[in-house]
Amino acid sequence: MKRFIGFVRKEFFHIMRDRRTAAILFGMPILQLLLFGFAIRNEITEVRTGILDLSHDVVTQELTDKIFSSGTFVASGVLNNGKETGPAFASGKMNEVVVFESGFAGNLQRDGTAQMQVITDGSDPNVSRIITGYTESVVREFLVEKAESTGTAQGVEAVPVMMFNSALKSVYLFVPGLMAMILMLVSALMTSISITREKESGTMELLLVSSLKPVQVIIGKVVPYLLLSFVNVITVLALAFLVFGVPCRGSIALLLGESLLFIMTALSLGILISSITNSQQVAMMISLAGLLMPTVLLSGFIFPITSMPLPLQVISNIIPARWYLVIVRGIMLKGAGIGVLWQETLVLVFMSLLFMTVSVRKFSERLQ
């Protein structure tokens, strides 16, 4: 045990002595969270809206007022005919045009329905989808208020509501993905580099000749990074809550526990990488290209898995971050418990055990 503690202490010395690494370890999570939270936002705060009113009646006027009173939409001019729409979008003056058909109020009175058109800039599909959604909800709200005030029955209507993230705040989505990414980076990349560094500098030769067992060397390498990664998890969660108000609706203990599990998976992957190669360079390349890229692209962090082509969907199953993401989103946003997430948890447990076993087996007690 004393040997083991001595070994772990030495690892901490390495991490702390190397200022740049330490800065990356602790600075990166904070920087990335702030970047994702502030700079890369998907929600729309200012929709420049033009009105093309072919009806000019009381209802269209009320509806127009309603739209601009929400704060999201900014009145950017009135159009007189449909031909003006194109240039308005092209010049960037507007990114939404609302068109009311002629005789809008009359149609609504008589048939209970009236046509309005929402034109958005399709060159940015994500933005236009969100704008359309906002506009629809404003109109729907308007109709409900109107029905209540006039007392006329409007029939049943299906109203889509975004649950768990009703404001569609992108930072809610980024936090879980970011945690997966940071943990993968810190745990897998750093451990694989630190083990291959010993191989490169020749100190592994001395460690082997010492009476340390392979398991002791591996666990000694794992423990410091396990602690560091855990600190990172807490930092990211605290920042997300304090700066962006991201809630954790489920049990924090469960979230931390699952994070520890994911860290273990990532660490065992890191060790596996270092047992394959003897050079820091190669270890870094494998970690970045083989682990980080799939974690970002295939885990559902940025692109939804359901919209991927089938082969990629199949591949995404072997990416640990995919399962971790489901767990974190489940706990933080939906308040889910272990009863719901046990399958994903088991997948991670299985992966960790598999990688660990393989790397302990592959860890050579001699030089190749």
Binding site: G6, F7, K10, F13, R17, T203, L206, V209, L367
Partner: protein, 311 residues
């Protein structure tokens, strides 16, 4: 008394390169045994096999009566190994390195301080300096300390004095002498011939073979040709000229003189001097000298095969 190290017909190849071709030798306890050979002679491979780090393709070796393949775990705790390349943690201080290797072997620096004291007192002023910032000689002394800190019965030192200044080399060898007196068997390799004479016995290695094993004085008796030390102001031209002499067997620069071997059994030095005068070396001096280890090694390398097989 059991020998500390025995190897029998050790062979190892890396791809097409035959690093070791049947190495056999035996080192008794408390001997200072030197392995002499040029780069690529197989010294490092031999050390790694003995340190249980790589497996031999053929043959076997045993350390302290234990087989290097079967009992590698037991061997590892009882030997001290110092690899050829400086292999300590450069970002840790002198003290931290030493403490680390002590704890890894389940001991403390205090416990074995007696053994490393002579060496450690020289390092003491730099105890909080990072190992990477030490001078070459200091690094090697620290590495020796780290290899000694668990009180091994056998030391394997792979070129410990390469790249170290002359004074530090001398100090290093004095330490090895003291360790030997404490009963520690030492296997040391070196490319420096002057260090060979400080060993109890030496083995000449070339291309994975043992050319000769003997005591430093014994080994010079293998050199049987007449040897002269020739001096002149223009040493460089002297070497070139001597090589064209009809009776020349070999000509090597040796310190401030040139060592010249004659093909004939009993040549006369004044004959050589006269010839040099006709070639324009007015100040040339030639006197017969006793062959040293370097002369012997050069001669053995030249012939390229074991002299024992020859005679």
């Amino acid at each position: 008394m059991n020998p500390a190290v025995t190897t029998e017909n050790l062979s190892k190849r890396f791809g097409k390169v035959e690093a070791l071709r049947g190495i056999s030798f035996c080192v008794p306890e408390a001997e200072l045994f030197g392995l002499i050979g040029a780069d690529g002679a197989g010294k490092t491979t031999l050390f790694r096999i003995l340190a249980t780090l790589i497996l031999p393709d053929a043959g076997n070796a045993s350390l302290l009566g234990l087989d290097t393949v079967k009992s590698y775990r037991a061997i590892r705790t009882r030997i001290g190994y110092m690899p050829g390349r400086f292999s300590l943690y450069q970002d840790l201080s002198v003290e931290e390195n030493l403490n680390f290797f002590a704890t890894v072997f389940g001991t403390t620096v205090k416990e074995n301080y007696e053994l490393i004291r002579d060496i450690y007192v020289q390092l003491e002023p730099f105890r909080s300096r990072r190992a990477g910032q030490l001078s070459g000689g200091m690094k090697q002394k620290l590495a020796l300390c780290c290899a000694l800190v668990h009180r091994p019965e056998l030391l394997l030192l792979d070129e410990p004095t390469t790249g170290v200044d002359a004074v530090s080399r001398q100090e290093f060898w004095q330490m090895l002498g003291r360790l030997k007196q404490q009963g520690i068997t030492i296997l040391v390799s070196t490319p420096y011939m002057d260090e060979a004479s400080l060993c109890d016995r030496v083995a000449f290695l070339q291309e994975g073979r043992v050319l000769a094993i003997d005591t430093p004085t014994g080994i010079t008796t293998l050199f049987r040709k007449p040897l002269f030390a020739v001096r002149s102001r223009d040493k460089h031209r002297l070497i070139t000229k001597l090589r064209t002499y009809e009776h020349a067997a070999s000509v090597f620069a040796f310190g401030d003189s040139v060592h010249y071997t004659d093909l004939r059994q009993s040549p006369e030095p004044h004959e050589l001097k006269a010839w040099l005068k006709t070639e324009g070396f007015d100040d040339a001096e030639a006197e017969p000298v006793k062959p040293g280890i370097e002369d012997t090694f050069m001669a053995l390398m030249e012939s390229g095969e074991s002299p024992e097989e020859n005679s």
